[in-house]
């Protein structure tokens, strides 16, 4: 079983400031890690994913995240945010199955609402 904790329910920042959204997970098996973004009245859209290899992964819209196995974290960062980044962000984890197959049963965190002020 897996669990995900997003440490901040809301993060207000000013435009062009850097931002970090924190995510910690627990799992008894190796995992795949994801960040999704949800704009108002829409479904979730994949920002980036970590499957294997380099621990720093880059996604869309200038976001990146770093997988830290020892700290079981997968924090999301952006060096300079825009008003359009205002949305809710979800961290998610799925356990690796036999042979490295992901079964897609994601466990989501509670979400972090990022509000970018002008």
């Amino acid at each position: 079983a897996q669990s995900v904790t997003q440490l901040d329910s809301q993060v207000p920042v000013f435009e062009e400031a850097p931002v970090e959204l924190r995510c910690n997970y627990s799992s008894s098996v190796s995992v795949y890690l994801f960040w999704y973004v949800q704009y108002p009245n829409q479904g979730l859209q994949l920002l980036l994913k970590y499957l294997s290899g380099s621990t720093l992964v880059k996604g869309i819209n200038g976001f990146e995240a770093e997988f830290n196995k020892s700290q079981t974290s997968f924090h999301l960062r952006k060096p300079s945010v825009h008003i359009s980044d205002t949305a809710e962000y979800f961290c998610a984890v799925s356990g690796r199955g036999a042979g490295g197959t992901s079964y897609g049963k994601l466990t989501f965190g509670q979400g972090t609402i990022l509000t970018v002020h002008p």
Partner: protein, 113 residues
């Protein structure tokens, strides 16, 4: 561009009514999912399917049922809606491989009065 479609987007219905939330995808994905999302809460998996005639209950117990008669279609049904069913329901699909992300529909916001 959405390749997974949910209808209706919004539904307000009285207690005791039977409802079906529609979900269709055009990507040929084998895996499909229904998540329930309440404000300020994480998404909870309520149903999933790995292919035609395959359905399983998710991590969160739900009074709803699903069917998967065709690959592209994964409807969710509530036989008798109650106010406790008020929530947003998100449908998703994914391919078979490990690096295949979930594609989400825009959701159905259900209100039961």
């Amino acid at each position: 561009e959405a390749d997974i479609y949910q209808t209706p987007r919004y539904l307000v219905i009285g207690t005791g009514k039977k409802i079906t939330l529609e979900c269709s995808q055009t990507m040929g994905h084998d895996k499909m999912y229904w998540y329930q999302q309440d404000p300020g809460m994480e998404l909870h998996l309520i149903h999933y399917s790995y292919g035609v005639n395959s359905t399983e209950k998710g991590d969160l117990s739900s009074e709803s049922t699903v069917s998967r008669i065709r690959t592209e279609h994964f409807p969710l049904t509530l036989e008798s809606a109650r106010p406790s069913h008020t929530s947003q329901y998100l449908c998703a699909s994914s391919g078979r491989t490990a690096n295949s992300p979930l594609h989400f529909g825009n959701g159905t916001r259900l209100t039961v009065t």
